[in-house]
Each structure stands twice: as C-alpha cells, then as structure tokens.
C-alpha cells in the first residue's frame, strides 16, 4: 500500500506538469477546431475586455450595475450621467450570480459605489456559469478571485482556459487591453461598460424555441442551489460593506416572460433579499418595437426602461 500511495504521489505532479505544458502547447500552436475544451476568446463578443479594463481604471462611482447581457445592454450609463450620476456597468455575457459575486469581490472596494443596481434575470440562476467564467478568465487579469471562480464552475473548459490565461499573463502575451469600440452592430461606450446595439426590431420568426405549433411552450425557471448560494453571498457582501442596493428585473418580451409559469415564485424569493423592482410588470413595452430579440431591449426600449428606473430610484 505504501508503494502504491508513494507512486501515486510521484505520478500526480508529473501528470500535472505534463498537462499544463500540453495545454500551453495546444493553446499556442493548434488550430481552433482542435481546441474543444480551451475557449480563450480575448477581446471578443460582449466587449468584456474593454469593460474590465475600464473597471480596473475607474474609482468612486455613484451607481454600479451588475448582471448579464440584459445588464450591459439594458442600463445606459450615459443616461445616468446626463442626470448627474457617475455610473459603471459591470455586466458581462451570461454573468451568473457565481460570477457576479467574484467580480464584486474584486472591484467593489475600488469602485466604491454609492448604490448597486443588480439585474436578476432568472435565466442566470439556472445555468452553470461556465460561459461567463470563460469570458471573464480570458479578458480579466488572472488572480485568486478568478481561481475561485474557476473552482466554483469547475470543468475541463474552465480549468484549461484558466491554465492558458495564466500562462499568457505570466509570459506577458496579453498586450491587447482594449478592443475596437465597434463590433458588428454593437458600439461600446468608453469608460462606462454599456454596449449599444444599432436600432433593430424583434421578429417573431426567430422565436422558434418558445413557440411550437403556434402555441407558447410553458416552462419553469429551475434555480440551481449553487447560484442561489452565490446570490445570497453577494447580498451579504453588499450588506457587510453597507452599500445600498436594489434588485431589478429588466424587461424581456412579454411572450417569453409569460411562458414561464413560476415567475411569482422567483419574484417572492428575490423580494426576501431586498428592494426589488420588476419592470416586466411596471412597463408596458411592445415585443416588436422595443426589443431586438426575445431577451434584449433595443434603443427605444432602453430609453423607456432607463427613464422608468431613474424615476423609481429618485
């Protein structure tokens, strides 16, 4: 038995070193189609690179926005600026409560917000957070916080990407710290984190997943316990730091929203944790005219939503 355990202890470091070297080699030299579990997209979709770079260089904001793409595409920092408030949008693609918690731990004391607006889209409570971890790992600096995030969403993809991102950072290969402001139909608003999409309208033809035989498919939000725990940890962190916060649900198309049967249940859960505004109920938006897809507001929708939010916060 002693020999067995001893050999395992000898083998494991060898395997670990070999694994790390192979991931680096694979990341540097193999074509993308052979990198199934190494998703290193720096400076890609969602402008995360520019946003996190701006976050690192921003201090003392009045309002900090948190959440997924519904956040960085929904809360227009320019609008709040026009009202005299310095704000920053720290949303990122598919950001789940696990990711939000880690990002907040890293940036909260530096940004020192006077108010946090946390967008609680239920979808982010029912996914594993891997997509967002990959996005943040590739675009932010690698440190203890990102290691914690990887550990909490551990799988082969997050681990490999973390190894490769660490190597790139250590080797000084991350020379790119910003990305072009314009990407396809998106424009990144400098120093604010907000992303504006060119005005387009939502067409139901692209609504295949929600409709079958002309009828809306009924479903339920299925909340993951680990996301629930991370959400509660975020609330606890804000309370510990004595930072006021509001929980907000940005509007999604009514047809998508109504297809979920347990919205009230989710809402009841969120309401237990703080002041909560659900703008799906407060605003009567038009699915076609105010959205560019089932989940995201277009320019018209963003304007209406931000005005309503500002009124509420005032």
């Amino acid at each position: 038995m002693k020999q067995f355990l001893l050999n395992i202890l000898k083998f494991l470091p060898l395997a670990a070193v070999f694994y790390i070297l192979m991931v680096i080699f694979w990341g540097d030299f193999m074509p993308e189609r052979y990198k199934k579990n190494l998703i290193y997209n720096r400076g890609s979709f969602g402008h995360t690179l520019s946003r996190l770079n701006d976050a690192a260089n921003t201090k003392d904001v009045d309002v900090l926005f948190l959440g997924a793409s519904t956040c960085y595409r929904g809360f227009d920092t320019r609008y709040f600026e026009s009202k005299g408030f310095v704000s920053f949008n720290l949303g990122s693609s598919s950001q789940t409560p696990i990711n939000t918690h880690q990002l907040l731990k890293r940036y909260l004391r530096q940004l020192k917000p006077k108010l946090v607006v946390y967008e609680v889209y239920p979808e982010t409570f029912q996914i594993d957070g891997v997509e967002s971890t990959l996005d943040i790992t590739a675009n932010d600096r690698v440190d203890l916080y990102s290691a914690q995030m990887v550990f909490k969403t551990l799988n082969a993809k997050t681990l490999n990407t973390y190894i490769y991102a660490s190597y790139r950072q250590l080797a000084g290969k991350n020379d790119l710290s910003r990305q072009p402001k314009r990407r396809e139909t998106d424009t990144y608003i400098d120093r604010n984190g907000f992303v504006e999409r060119d005005l387009t309208y939502f067409k139901y033809l692209t609504y295949k997943n929600e409709v079958k035989n002309g009828k809306v498919i009924k479903k339920e939000w299925i909340i993951r316990p680990e996301q629930q725990a991370a959400f509660e940890a975020t609330i606890a962190l804000l309370k510990a730091e004595k930072i006021p916060f509001v929980l907000v649900r940005a509007p999604i198309t009514s047809r998508l929203n109504d297809s979920y049967e347990n919205n009230a249940e989710f809402e009841a859960y969120i309401q237990q944790h703080g002041r909560y505004y659900n703008f799906n109920k407060r605003l009567q938006l038009n699915d076609s005219l105010d959205f560019y897809d089932a989940v995201h507001l277009n320019r018209n929708g963003v304007k209406v939503f931000n005005e309503a939010l500002y009124k509420q916060l005032k």
């Binding site: 038995m1 020999q3 067995f4 050999n7 083998f11 060898l14 395997a15 070999f18 694994y19 192979m22 991931v23 694979w26 189609r33 052979y34 990198k35 199934k36 579990n37 190494l38 891997v130 551990l154 799988n155 082969a156 993809k157 681990l159 490999n160």
Partner: protein, 479 residues
C-alpha cells in the same frame, strides 16, 4: 452518481482509503462499508428506489435460505417460483408494462376497436435489469443445487449491490463473486495499479470517444431524412463506436474500480469489433449477459442440441429475449431478430466456433482475409445497431433505405476530422492490447517508467482537452 462525475472523483478515493486503512483486515467491516457505500452511490441517483433494491435483495436472500431448508421438492419449488415471479413481476411492471399496454391497444386498433390503455407514469429504476438478473441467477443456482445459500445478509447484500456493478453490470454470478466477498482481502499492488489503468482507459473511451461520437450520431439520427447516404453511413458508424465506447468504457471503469477493492469482476468485453464473424462478436460483446442467457435460458431449452427446428427456435428465443431485455421497444426486438438471422447460418453450418482464438494472434497485423472478415462483421453489426438507435422500426428501415437511395458516394456532410483521429487512436491502442484483458493492461510495459507515465499523462490530457463537459449518463443505465 455517475462514474464520470466530480462526485465520483471524491467518493472513490474516500471509500478506498476507509476500506484499506480504517477497516483493513476486517472483512465483515469492509463488507458493511461496501454495502453502505453502494446504497449511498445508488441513492445519489434516486433514493426513492432504494426500497426496491432492498426488497429485491431481501426477497432473494430469504427465498434462497427457504429453498435450502425446504424439506421436500414441492416446498422448494414454491419458494423458487415465488422469487422468480416477484422478480420478473417488478421487472415487468417497471420496464415492460407500458409496452404491453400500448401494443395491446395498437393490436385491437387493427380490428377497429379503440382502447385507451392505462399507462404507468414512472421512471425506470436504474440498474433494475442488472440487479434483478443477479438475484435470478442466485436463486436458480440454489434451486439447481449448484450453490448453497448465503446466510450472511451483509455479504449477500454486497453481492447484489456492489457499487461498481450496481447500475450497469457486469452481471455477476454468485459462484464467482460471493467467494471473493466472503474471504479475507489483502491489498495487492499490481491489482490496484491495474485497476487504475483500466479506469483511465474506460474513462477515455466514455468521455472522449463515446460522448464525442454521440454528438454526431445524435445529429445525424435525429434528422436522418436531411442527410445523404454517405452521411447516414457515417452516423451509423459513429453510433457503433459510441455504444462500444460507452458500454465497454463503463465496464472498464467498473472492473478497475472493483480491483481497487481486491475484487475481480467478470469480463464484459473482449474487443468485439475485432471479430471475424457474428458468433465471435457475440462471444466478445456484453459477455456477462450473453453467458447468463446461455446458462439460464439457451442450455435449459436444449441449446444447439436436437433437430433443425429446435436449433432455430432456441437461437431466435435467446436473441429476441436479449433484445427485449434491453428495453420495451420493437426496435430492440428487431435488433435481436436481425442478430439471430446473422447467427443462424453459422450455427446450422457448424461454423459458429470457427474463430475461437484471437485475431492475428502474435502478429502485428491481421491477414488480408481476416481484415475483410472483420470489416464485414463490423458492417453487419452496424446495420443492426441502426435498429437499436432508431426511434422506431419505421425510422430504422427508412434510415437503411436512404443509405442506398441518397447519394451514397458523395462526401459526408457531417464530418469531424478530430473525432476520427481520436477514434483511430483508440482503435490502435485496442488493437495492440487485444490479447490482454483490456487495452492498456500491458501497453508500454517495455518502455522506461517515465515514458509510460508520460503516456498515461497524455491520455489524461486527451480526456481534459476533448471530453464532453456536460455529464452524460451511460447508455446502459436505461436498461
């Protein structure tokens, strides 16, 4: 709990350390630990069905003792049939009831009668076919006076529910496993290392090969009417590799895990795709099930003895029952019938035992004739797998028909060079390991240890780089 989950990655070392450090040298305590661990392992899937497992175990344990204590044949028979009927009753209710109810409704519908069958809305308890067959073989062996009943409930409980084999086999026999559970177990370095190697190879076959092929097989089978003949061929081949990687991978992990606890389970796969005819294939595929049916069904029916009619009847019975064992669906029955048709000509011409030895034994490559036979057998098996995978018999027939009617010779639309490279890598390792119990058993043993360990590390890297990151259950869990 799945073998390919993070939960299992902490569960196994924990049980291993408790087994060899805390209760070492105390077989009774070791067995209690294994029983508790096995029930926990099962409960992680669905604790509500633990009662079924416990009931099945208690039933066979007590009827086994009652049969041995019965003073006369009539009482013995009573206990025997009680056990058999309850075991098969459970299997029938959970696995086959809906199939019979629906089939009955369809059959009377032919005559114009409309019947709305009352169907059960229950999920199939995972592993029910496997642990029921464990119990059945035990009861039959006692009835036939082949073994004495086990008096120790813990030992018997471990025999039925030992966690490596609990949910998808191999289907063990009391004569093979019980003596190992009863005896003192000492740690064997070579056996444990062998176990780890086998787990590594099994994991590779499951999470890289099977899950990777599943992605393409599902894509093609789910929209088969959209694809060309050549793509459909590729889809069928992907499924053939998927089901082999999935089930043999599971079996390797199960056997390797058992070895870590000083237990040798029955071999379940012996490189079946390197077979030269269907008879050889069936001696190498799901061996524990094939031999179970041989011993408890085929031979009692008369086997290959007797007249032509009896041979044909027995062959069809065993293959149809084997198909039906896999699931309550006509596709499985057709799969069984097709294999029976493949097998019969060999049996009737006394050629079913022509290929007993390992293909190309002692050589690097097979002969040209052997190679052609191997490809031919693989093609036949793959055609049968189409029935196994298809949604319905009609779908399977359309799928096979479309292979020949829709551009068989144009390049496939769905093609993954990466997946093909990985499959070829697996086949090469398997080919060079085909004379062993499993592919990695002696692979690289002439190399310096550092090189061999680097090779194992490379397999770990392949797993990390190419595995499916979503935990996907093993196909045979549904049986």
């Amino acid at each position: 709990m799945l073998f390919n989950s993070l939960d299992f990655a902490w569960f196994l070392p924990l049980v291993f350390l408790l087994y060899w450090f805390v209760v070492k040298g105390k077989p009774r305590l070791q067995n209690i630990l294994l029983l508790v661990a096995s029930y926990y392992f099962y409960a992680c899937w669905d604790y509500r069905f633990l009662f079924l497992l416990l009931f099945s175990t208690l039933l066979d344990y007590f009827t086994g003792i009652k049969m041995a204590d019965a003073g006369n044949q009539a009482r013995k028979k009573f206990w025997f049939w009680l056990s058999i009927s309850i075991n098969l009753g459970f299997l029938g209710v959970f696995k086959y009831y809906n199939f019979f109810a629906d089939s009955f409704a369809e059959a009377v519908g032919v005559f114009g009668w409309k019947v709305s069958p009352w169907t059960l809305d229950v999920i199939l308890p995972v592993g029910i076919s496997f642990y029921t067959f464990h119990g059945l073989s035990y009861v039959i062996d006692i009835y036939k006076d082949r073994i004495k009943p086990e008096k120790n409930f813990i030992d018997y409980g471990v025999f039925v529910s030992f966690f490596p084999l609990l949910v998808a086999g191999p289907i063990e026999r009391a004569t093979h496993l019980l003596p190992q559970i009863q005896r003192q177990r000492t740690f064997d370095y070579a056996q444990a290392v062998n176990g780890l190697r086998q787990i590594l190879w099994g994991l590779f076959k499951k999470v890289v090969i099977a899950d990777g092929c599943a992605e393409y097989a599902d894509l093609i089978f789910n929209d088969s009417d959209m694809y060309s003949g050549s793509t459909l061929v590729l889809g069928a081949v992907f499924f053939a590799i998927q089901i082999y990687g999935d089930f043999s991978g599971y079996s390797d992990i199960a056997l390797g895990t058992a070895r870590l606890f000083g237990v040798e389970l029955l071999r379940n796969f012996a490189f079946p795709y390197f077979s030269r005819d269907i008879a050889e294939f069936w001696r190498r595929w799901h061996i524990s099930l094939s031999t179970w049916f041989r011993d408890y069904l085929y031979i009692p029916l008369g086997g290959s003895q007797g007249g032509l009619g009896k041979k044909i009847r027995n062959t069809f019975i065993i293959f149809l029952v084997s198909g039906f064992w896999h699931g309550a669906n006509w596709t499985f029955i057709c799969w069984g019938a097709l294999n029976a048709m493949y097998f019969l000509p060999l049996l009737l011409s006394n050629k079913n035992r022509n290929n007993i030895e390992i293909i190309g034994q002692g050589k690097i490559l097979p002969s040209f004739i052997e190679f052609i036979k191997m490809i031919g057998t693989f093609a036949l098996v793959t055609i049968a797998w189409v029935f196994f995978r298809a949604e319905s018999v009609e779908h399977a027939l359309t799928y096979i028909g479309d292979i020949f009617h829709k551009n068989l010779f144009q390049p496939p639309k769905v093609m993954s060079v990466l997946m093909i490279i990985l499959v070829v890598f697996m086949l090469i390792i398997e080919w060079f390991g085909r004379e062993r119990q499993y592919a990695l058993e002696r692979f690289g043993f002439r190399w310096p240890r550092f090189v061999r360990w680097t090779f194992y590390s490379f397999i770990i890297f392949l797993i990390g780089m190419f595995m499916q990151t979503e935990e996907t259950p093993f196909i045979y869990f549904q049986f």
